[in-house]
Subunit: 212 residues, 2 copies
């Protein structure tokens, strides 16, 4: 590489390399998309927040969908990788669920909004965005389905519709806990993990009580 003054060609407002700037835009866009949703997010606003002009965003990402797809790609890999990592462990049933939640809390500690990206109802359902969403949710749903299947099988439930409904419910639980977490920024990841453990424990106490 050229010595001293890096090879920054062109006329950046600063000598900030493009990749770094793209990274910053993605960060800001993820927050915007994750909180307001795809439809309600304004590209011009994101650009202004990033301190650049709208056309530059288009120059980098091609379109609003392209920007969203880029955010999704980062978020999806992050999440799916972590869930896969945990799935490789030996926990089963409820234990596996708790471990997974723990992992999610740890990974998303300071990126809580990204969970929403994968479940945005206002995102386009066709085209590149849909493909990227499908790709990542497929990975995640597969693992969720696998875990739930295992859990239910241990209890003798094997009906595929039951597994399907339970998987949806599990994902909904994760969803709502993430929402709650977003609404309670002062709560840390370990705090959340302990809280969830406590709540599951309470459920079981109650269940056994009402069984007697």
């Amino acid at each position: 590489m050229t010595t001293g003054t890096k090879r920054a060609s062109g006329a950046g407002t600063k000598g900030v390399p493009r990749v770094e700037r793209e990274q910053e835009i993605l960060q800001l866009a993820s927050v915007a998309f994750g909180t307001a949703g795809f439809a309600a997010t304004n590209v011009a606003d994101v650009a202004r927040e990033a301190g650049i002009s709208k056309p530059l965003v288009y120059n980098y990402f091609g379109s609003k969908e392209g920007l969203y797809a880029a955010c999704l790609d980062a978020a999806g890999s992050l999440l799916a990788d972590e869930i896969e990592r945990i799935a490789r462990g030996d926990a089963v049933g409820i234990e596996r669920g708790l471990r997974t939640m723990e992992g999610m809390f740890a990974v998303l500690e300071d990126r809580r909004h990204v969970w929403r990206l994968l479940h945005d109802r206002t995102a386009p359902t066709t085209g590149r965005v849909a493909d990227v969403v499908a790709q990542h949710t497929a990975r995640i749903d597969k693992l969720a389905h696998e875990g739930v299947h295992e859990l239910l099988a241990l209890a003798g439930v094997t009906d595929e519709l039951d597994v399907s409904a339970m998987t949806a419910t599990w994902l909904g639980i994760v969803d709502s806990l993430m929402d709650w977490w977003v609404a309670h920024p002062d709560q840390g990841a370990e705090q959340m993990a302990r809280r969830v453990g406590r709540l599951v424990g309470a459920l079981l106490v109650d269940a056994n009580r009402s069984e007697s």
Copy 2:
């Protein structure tokens, strides 16, 4: 009231009384809002589906928000009334949860989409719509909170944040089951109630297994 030929003044395309026509619009609008969301729903489309013109919709409901508020009012009352009715029963803990789900399934059997109306992130967060949403979710959340508080208290958990998180989770569970139900139109209300019962049972079996 006027005798014989009802008091239908003006020039309806048919002799359909206004109230009835309003009802039909609300029905269609609820489906549209509930499936596509507030932002993605187009007033002109709703009007076309109802076989009338857009200005007439505005004449009836004043604005898109007015139309949405009217849908919400019907949906909110329906749901909150039913949940309150069940809360007046003597079921507690998990049992109360199951009873509530049963009631929801029964009430929403052929209006499954309305549950989404109350949880639409694309709806305006200020003005009349926000007020109506707040009013109904306040009723529902209060009952959910009450039920969860009771359930957790039986297990010795009294931390307010725990109750808050668990309430959010409970509402998320209902949410995801409703979504699953929407995606499986062939499943009846009783079928769903039995399914949920089965799944809760399976969870308990697994929990006791892993405890030993």
